[in-house]
């Protein structure tokens, strides 16, 4: 987990953040939050997986990404309007650190260094990494017109 979200902090800032945490567990299938609900909490996953989804009237919940061990679940609590852009469901049994957003936001306002460290971590590890991943998926690299590789059944011409 050291290279997960918490790995991006200095020891002091990580301790500071964890002082706001409590450990929680969700059974598989737990709805953690819904799209457009107020973002009042966030989580760092310790075990298990959470699917982020978007609801389509015809197709139901469309999973856009899965988060796992060490990853930050939720960043909408950090930016206005503090509402979830997607929904989240536990894919299997999940254990996580859970944080209330209010006291963490207050700490950010009060301690600029801590605030910068936290904002940086959210931006680089969570949002940045996911944005890069998302862009790569946009390329649809494995689409049928591309073999992916000549050395596994491609075609010179």
């Amino acid at each position: 987990m050291s290279d997960g979200f918490l790995g991006a902090f200095s020891d002091a800032h990580r301790e500071r953040l964890l002082s706001f945490a409590r450990t929680v567990s969700f059974p598989a299938g737990t709805r953690v939050f819904d799209e457009d609900d107020p973002a009042q909490r966030f989580w760092v996953l310790r075990h298990g997986h959470v699917d982020l989804d978007c609801h389509d009237p015809a197709r139901g919940a469309l999973v856009v990404e899965t988060l796992g061990e060490g990853e930050l679940l939720g960043w909408s609590w950090l930016f206005e309007p503090y509402r979830w852009h997607l929904g989240a469901t536990a894919q299997d049994a999940v254990t996580a650190y859970e944080f209330d957003a209010d006291p963490v936001r207050a700490a950010i306002e009060q301690d600029a260094r801590f605030g910068l460290a936290l904002t940086r971590s959210v931006a680089s590890v969570a949002i940045g990494r996911r944005l890069r991943a998302c862009r790569i998926r946009l390329l649809d690299l494995y689409r049928p017109t591309d073999t992916g590789r000549a050395s596994a059944g491609g075609e010179p011409r």
């Binding site: 997986h49 899965t66 998302c134 690299l141 017109t145 596994a152 491609g154 075609e155 011409r157």
Partner: protein, 268 residues
């Protein structure tokens, strides 16, 4: 120029709508043994030949997974049991699993890139004492495109950490969704003592290799399999050049340390 040795198709397994795996057996004298990562030029009678990595070696039997894309691959893909396929090889560099002795292994595949990596997984499972933890990270477009789905549970049972993710889940998919690099956070490895084997589309290789180096892997221990047009397989036709490399001879497997600067040059 080498000439194709006739091999008989022993079994044909459908992996996905346009992907089949052929097990081939020599109809005459067998070719020299193939190492994981090496490729064969597979010849369809009267149509032509294409490079296809070996995805299992069992005595003189060769296994190749083929995706139907053009005329030759469609002909090979459509081979029937009992039919004859021409084989030239073995060509190119192997994955070099021996260089990873004692280290954790990261096998990272995108799409059909799992095919060339399958023999690495099989070899690592066959000799678990030779290396540390074995991680197999697989990304596919849709659940139906996942290769060797019937085998991956067995890989898990034999001690591999197999993580699978898809770009586009279907209604029945209850696994991970996302690109293959997002699985890295959940793999079990010590970056300073790990060798990675990466195969997939070049964009995926670049993103994955950079991520691995960011996580502390030495660029020399990130081995990637590259793709360029290959016509002859023996270094004589010039098509597969990538700067100083003739990929049929100096590749397809090279280290990220070698590949990185070359892949930065457009249209090289």
């Amino acid at each position: 120029m080498t000439t194709p040795a006739p091999y008989r198709v022993v079994t044909r397994t459908v992996e996905a709508p346009d992907v089949a795996t052929l097990v081939l057996e020599p109809a005459g004298d067998p070719l020299p043994p193939f190492s994981p990562g090496q490729f064969a030029m597979l010849y369809a009678f009267g149509v032509g030949d294409i490079p296809v990595s070996v995805c299992a070696v069992d005595g003189h039997r060769l296994t190749h997974t083929i995706r139907a894309v053009g005329a030759v691959s469609s002909a090979l893909h459509g081979s029937r049991t009992g039919g004859t396929v021409g084989v030239r090889g073995p060509f190119g560099t192997g994955w070099g699993l021996d260089h990873a002795a004692g280290r954790d292994l990261l096998v990272i595949a995108g799409g059909i890139g799992l095919a060339p990596l399958r023999p690495v997984v099989l070899a690592a499972l066959a000799a678990p004492e030779r290396h540390g933890r074995l991680n197999v990270l697989v990304g596919a477009r849709v659940p139906g495109d996942l290769l060797y789905a019937s085998e991956t549970d067995a890989w898990r049972e034999r001690g591999a950490r197999v993580l699978v993710t898809v770009d586009r889940p279907d209604a029945r998919w209850n696994g991970d969704v996302g690109v293959v690099t997002t699985l890295l956070g959940r793999a079990a490895f010590t970056p300073s003592d790990t060798t990675a084997f990466v195969c997939g589309p070049e964009v995926m290789i670049r993103a994955t290799a950079r991520d691995l180096v960011d996580r502390g892997l030495d660029a020399d221990r990130v081995r990637v399999s590259l793709e360029r047009t290959m016509h002859c397989g023996v270094g004589h036709c010039g098509h597969c050049q990538l700067g100083p490399l003739l990929l049929c001879r100096d590749g397809p497997v090279v280290t990220w340390a070698e590949a990185r600067s070359l892949l930065r040059v457009r249209e090289l």
